[in-house]
């Protein structure tokens, strides 16, 4: 009988994948995702694209809020900066898309140094408020810099062509999103098990203690900001390409809330949680619509007229319910289920 997972060395504890079944299922998932564009129709494919882009952004926020414990209410600011950096470089100055993606990462990372600087003095709520203020300021800056950003009119963005491959079709673009999302996932998982990741988590758990242990708070907090903004910026560029149009209205403040909702629903501080949370939050409105339409055509009509409102109400409700009843998120629920499965009928 299996009695539990015993880790006997530090290497086993930090292993990326700790058991053969996880290898197998990860491979199956990857193959399924690769096969998906051939199987799915374009409606379902658009959901897959959104999920992959959102996963990238959520993983970016997860580094800052999940690992390092610095709450950001203004992550949409990095998202919009990344999208604009890409749009300006590629559509306006006709740079190669690869340079555009690099810029989409680097520009928000530089901006995050400015936003991150107050974090050296501020904690918790006050930092959240600073990031909130930043996201409003960045919108105004973009609207005012008309010579560069076209102001409120926005910038048209084409699907890119890189390495001699055109990402014009939906399937090809999905592969691009998949590649970036997979790389980000691998990257964040590896950050988590490195020296840097352990420093982040130490800061989250108790920053005074972390400092006593010899962690340079300033350097690591700024590093968390820069890494998080870099990843989020690239997600922003992808989202801009997906919308094929970059404007301030395309990135409403609600996206910041949605990103936090994803982390809470998935389970704070876990890469798997970010992925699970994204899938749930992105598919939730669609799933609700399906359930409603099962009941009656009339409810379906109500949903169609007030779709946007019901969608945001659902976000709010899901955030509150998860915080109230399952604060550890889907990952926590998954752990509980696994434990119950192994130990049944015993409790421990």
């Amino acid at each position: 009988m299996r009695t539990g997972d015993y880790k006997q060395s530090y290497g086993e504890l930090v292993a990326l994948i700790d058991s053969p079944p996880v290898w197998l299922w990860s491979a199956v998932l990857l193959l399924a995702l690769i096969a998906a564009p051939f199987v799915l129709n374009s409606y379902a494919l658009s959901f897959l694209m959104i999920i992959l882009i959102t996963v990238t952004g959520a993983l970016g926020l997860n580094i800052l809020t999940g690992y390092t414990g610095l709450i950001s209410l203004g992550h949409v600011g990095f998202l919009v900066t990344g999208a604009y950096a890409y749009a300006v470089l590629v559509s306006r100055y006709h740079m190669p898309p690869l340079v555009g993606f690099l810029g989409a990462g680097v520009v928000p990372a530089l901006a995050s140094l400015i936003v991150g600087a107050p974090s050296l003095r501020l904690k918790g709520l006050y930092l959240a408020i600073t990031t909130l203020a930043f996201s409003f300021i960045i919108n105004t800056v973009i609207l005012e810099m008309r010579w560069l950003t076209n102001g409120a009119r926005g910038i048209q963005v084409q699907r890119p062509e890189m390495f001699g491959i055109s990402f014009d079709s939906d399937a090809a673009f999905t592969y691009l999103c998949l590649a970036i999302a997979a790389l980000t996932l691998l990257g964040t998982l590896n950050i988590r098990r490195s020296r840097v990741g352990r420093a982040f988590v130490a800061i989250r758990d108790n920053d005074t203690a972390a400092r006593v242990m010899g962690i340079n708070l300033h350097a690591y907090k700024l590093l968390a900001f820069v890494t998080s903004a870099f990843i989020t910026g690239i997600a922003g560029a992808l989202y801009g390409i997906y919308l094929s149009f970059v404007s301030v209205e395309g990135f409403p403040f609600l996206l910041s809330i949605e990103a936090l909702a994803i982390l809470i629903v998935g389970g704070l501080g876990s890469a798997l949680g970010a992925v699970l949370g994204t899938v749930l939050i992105v598919l939730l409105p669609e799933a609700t619509r399906l359930v409603f339409s099962l009941f009656s055509a009339q409810m379906d009509a109500t949903f169609a007229t007030g779709a946007q409102e019901l969608k945001s109400m659902l976000y709010g409700l899901v955030i509150i319910l998860f915080l109230r009843f399952q604060p550890r998120g889907l990952v926590g629920a998954w752990h509980d289920i696994k434990r119950a499965w192994v130990h049944w009928p015993l409790r421990y």
Binding site: L122, I129, T130, T208, L310, K311, M313, L323
Partner: protein, 290 residues
């Protein structure tokens, strides 16, 4: 000079509205230790209810005022009982996220129940113009400044002299000791939510009176936010005065630097305030024990 005075007066008027909402933030922060991100939405609901009363029941000022205050009290109590009380004892991050979730729900509920078009709150007053030394001022603007000053004075007296006010300060200072002294913390929290809802609601109704009701009104909460930070999150009176300062700053920035600056002047200001004096002008410095 004329232009400057005009800007200052309209800045004071909008600043008084920010001040009222900022006091709402501070009342809740002072007694429960959390920032209520749904303040703007609660303000907005009260204003919409006032508008509904004025169009369906009666346009009489007193009927609308009493109805709106009762509705605000009920709203505050319901939210405290159903949403916030179960979160008692949870980490601050979780509780604050709950208010954000609540904000999203309330905002969409407003769009769902009422419509997305702007409405004017017509009570047959508040839009008339009085001339003060050659400068036209709306009566509503004068009324809101007067209301703010009146509320500031009465709240100061309430916290200073009344038994309930002292109990609230005790809970804010140290809830466990307050509990041992026989003060019911939950009752104090409920009172704080109701009071905050009413104070902010008054601001909302005045806003609707001088400007218009619209779904974008929830932004009032975000605009009033810098006021609380400036005055100090735990300083109720300071927040009220902070509102006036923010209102003036915004209007001067908008008048002399362009309308884009008006939008962000408050936010730029809080970043500076947070860097220099994170606890605000009138707030108390947090002392952290290891």
């Amino acid at each position: 000079m004329q232009y400057l005075i005009q800007l200052l007066i309209s800045g004071l008027a909008i600043g008084a509205i920010y001040g009222l909402i900022a006091m709402g933030f501070a009342v809740i922060y002072k007694s429960t230790g959390l920032v209520n991100f749904a303040q703007g939405e609660m303000t907005m609901i009260t204003a919409y209810i006032a508008w509904t009363i004025s169009t369906t029941v009666s346009g009489n000022v007193f009927v609308v005022a009493i109805g709106a205050i009762l509705a605000a009290v009920a709203l505050g109590l319901i939210i405290e009982r159903l949403v916030m009380r179960p979160m008692l004892g949870e980490p601050v991050f979780a509780t604050v996220m709950v208010t954000i979730g609540l904000a999203v729900i309330l905002r969409s509920a407003i769009n769902f129940i009422w419509d997305a078009y702007p409405h004017g709150l017509e009570l047959g007053m508040g839009r008339g113009i009085v001339h003060l030394g050659g400068i036209g001022v709306r009566t509503g603007q004068l009324a809101v400044i007067a209301t703010l000053l009146l509320l500031l004075a009465s709240i100061w007296a309430f916290f200073r002299y009344s038994k309930v006010g002292v109990a609230m300060r005790a809970v804010a200072a140290d809830d466990r000791t307050a509990l041992l002294m026989g003060i019911s913390a939950t009752r104090v929290h409920a009172l704080a939510w109701a009071a905050s809802s009413v104070i902010a609601g008054i601001g909302g109704v005045f806003f609707a009176l001088s400007y218009d009701l619209s779904p974008a009104m929830f932004q009032l909460g975000l605009r009033a936010f810098p006021a609380t930070i400036l005055g100090g999150l735990d300083a109720v009176l300071g927040s009220g005065l902070g509102g006036l300062l923010i209102g003036i700053t915004e209007n001067l920035a908008g008048g002399y630097l362009g309308s884009g600056m008006k939008e962000v002047a408050g936010f730029a200001m809080i970043i500076v305030v947070l860097m220099v004096r994170p606890f605000g002008i009138f707030g108390e410095r947090d002392i952290e024990r290891v």
